[in-house]
Each structure stands twice: as structure tokens, then as C-alpha cells.
Amino acid sequence: MKLRKRYLIFLVNSPMTFSSSEVEEAIKRELERCFGERCLALSGIELISYDERTGIGVLRCYHAYLEYARAALALVSDIKGTPIALYTLKVTGTKKKAIRIMHSLNLNKGLIKL
């Protein structure tokens, strides 16, 4: 079976700002904690882009693991004791479209900044 890629555009809501490595680490930790190392290895999860200023990012995974990636994002509840919530805003099939959507959301940051 061909492993097609999916790009999840997500939004971070937290009283503090976090670096892309901290966010990626939290997502991977949650995926491993709930679904195991196998899922972490096979899901192909990777943070493609993350804008610290707006809190919007793009996460890549394989289509068969889309629900796991989405659940892992939703299950992140804190980073170093600071409460955080990650919301999946949109799922696309191409990186180009994901980046385009991310930038269009950046333009409307007044609407999505919580």
C-alpha cells in the first residue's frame, strides 16, 4: 500500500510561547505514550513548519495514521507544567496547500489568536 502523506494545520493555545522543538517533542511524546513506539515509528510524524508568533504549525504524517496524529495533538495538555491546547484546524494532502492555508490563517491572526 502506498503511503500517502497528510498535512495537519494546527493551532497552539497557551499562556506561554513555545519553540518548534518543544512543540514537536510534546506531540511525539504523547504519540509514544498513548500508541507506542511502533506507531511513532510508522506514522512518519514530523513538524514541517511552526510559527511561534502566531502559534500555527503544520504536522506531517502518513494517511493511515492520521487519526493517531490528530489524537496525539489533542492529547497534549501541558509542556513543562504550562497548560496548552492544540487544535487541528485543517487537513490537506499537499505541503504546498498546507503552507498556503497556514499563511492565510496568519493573515487573519486577529480572528484566531485566543
Binding site: C34, E67, R70, A71, A74, S77, Y87, L89, L114
Partner: protein, 252 residues
């Protein structure tokens, strides 16, 4: 016609939460919810409900009034129900012992049952009773999010859901949020229960869309003045019946 996602269990500052109704309403409107309900323990405060409704409607959401009754004894429960049934959309029972749980499953005035940390275990007898009496079971996603050790929580929820679905008990999935960081988008919540609790995606969506609405509609029907009992309602009023003279003669 009711349409859209509902989050029926949110704790505001007044009910032990950390955020105001305003903050929740703003976030929920952005995340695609349409209906919202805030927990109110053991009493109905009309002014607070009006305030919630006003705040929620400012963000284009619809407010569903709800009262959570912590039931310890049957006499206390009956008192609560007599007092509050007609004034709120949803009456949710939080049983504190097994008798209270069975009573909640049988009584027609209770719409939903929520088994929290202080409730007895959800068992097959309870599920059978709830299935027969069309009672809805509420589960909160925050139990998973906030748990330090997720294993016992997932095990408990898995067991509850398996038994409930076996006996056709309808389930409503709520956030159970105590602060804005415990709220998730509807589809994210469905993804969590799909992956962790093995629930079909469509069933998960039903738990957040169709099931809450069926409870709300049924409850509103009960509050209607024309409602007498399930399946029986007043459809119109006729003139007082005057029997003809010959009938009266015959009867006499």
C-alpha cells in the same frame, strides 16, 4: 431544527472552573461548536442562566440550561426534581450510591446520568435499566486529558462504553472542561475516543451531534405545557361536551 456540535459539560468560575462563560463561549464559537451548556450544581439560579444565555448568544451560540443533581438519597432527589424539572433544559444526575444510580435510570424526569469520580461503578444492571428507560450516559474527555495515569482512566471508560453500547444506551460526549485549555475541537475529541477507546468515527460524531440534540428535544418536549407523559399530549381544546337529552334520559 437543531444542527451542529454540542458541548454540554463545562465548568465556569461559579461551578469550580477557572474561566468565565465569556471566555468559553469565544473559544467554542471559534472551534465550531453550536450549543453550549454550563454545569450548575444542585440548584437553579435563574439570573445566572439568563446571564449565561446573554453571553453565549453574543458569540452566536445557543445556550442549553442544565442542572447537575448530586443524588445521595431518593427523598432528596425527588425534592430536587419536583423543584427544578420545569425550569431547565437538562437535568443531569450524579449518583452517589447504587440506589441513587438505579433511581436515576428509572425516573422519567432525569435526562442524563454522569458517573464521576464519586459515583458507583457503571455495571450491566445499570446499563440495562438505562437502555430500557432511554436514559443517556454522559462521558467527559477531560478525564483522559487531566489524568496523571491514563491507564486506569482508559480502562474504566472502555469498560463503561462497551457495556453501554451493548445495551443500546445512548452516549453524549462532552469536554468536561475546567479551563479553556481542556477544550478540544469536536473532531479532535472524536479522534481521541476512536483511537483510545475503539469507537467508530461515525458513532463518535453521533455522540457529539445527534445524541445531545435528541436529549435536548426530548427534554424540551417534556417541559411543554401540552405534554402529559411520553406518547401522550394535548393536541387541542374542544367545547365542553353536552350530552343530548335522549342520552341523558337513557342513562338515567
Amino acid at each position: 431544527m437543531l444542527k451542529g456540535f454540542a458541548d454540554l459539560q463545562i465548568y465556569t468560575l461559579e461551578s469550580g472552573g477557572k474561566n468565565t462563560a465569556d471566555e468559553y463561549a469565544y473559544l467554542l464559537s471559534l472551534l465550531g461548536f453550536r450549543y453550549v451548556s454550563f454545569v450548575c450544581f444542585n440548584r437553579v439560579i435563574e439570573n445566572r442562566f439568563k446571564e449565561y444565555r446573554r453571553r453565549v448568544e453574543d458569540y452566536g451560540l445557543e445556550y442549553i440550561s442544565r442542572v447537575d443533581l448530586e443524588i445521595k438519597s431518593l427523598s432528596q432527589a425527588k425534592g430536587f426534581l419536583r423543584k427544578y424539572r420545569k425550569s431547565v433544559d437538562l437535568v443531569v444526575a450524579r449518583p452517589r450510591n447504587i440506589n441513587a444510580a438505579r433511581f436515576s435510570a428509572r425516573d422519567g424526569r432525569i435526562d442524563m446520568i454522569f458517573f464521576d469520580g464519586r459515583s458507583p461503578k457503571f455495571d450491566t444492571i445499570q446499563a440495562k435499566l438505562m437502555g430500557v428507560n432511554n436514559k443517556v450516559l454522559e462521558i467527559a474527555i477531560s478525564e483522559i486529558l487531566t489524568a496523571e495515569k491514563r491507564v486506569p482512566v482508559i480502562r474504566k471508560l472502555n469498560r463503561t462504553l462497551t457495556i453501554a453500547l451493548k445495551y443500546d444506551v445512548k452516549i453524549v460526549l462532552s469536554s468536561g472542561a475546567h479551563n479553556i485549555y481542556e477544550i478540544r475541537t469536536p473532531r479532535d475529541m472524536v479522534s481521541i475516543i476512536k483511537t483510545l477507546l475503539n469507537i467508530e468515527y461515525e458513532s463518535g460524531l453521533e455522540m457529539m451531534r445527534e445524541n445531545p440534540f435528541s436529549v435536548i428535544l426530548r427534554s424540551r418536549e417534556k417541559r411543554n405545557k401540552e405534554f402529559i407523559m411520553p406518547g401522550l399530549k394535548v393536541i387541542g381544546k374542544a367545547k365542553p361536551y353536552e350530552a343530548e337529552k335522549k342520552i341523558l334520559d337513557f342513562l338515567s
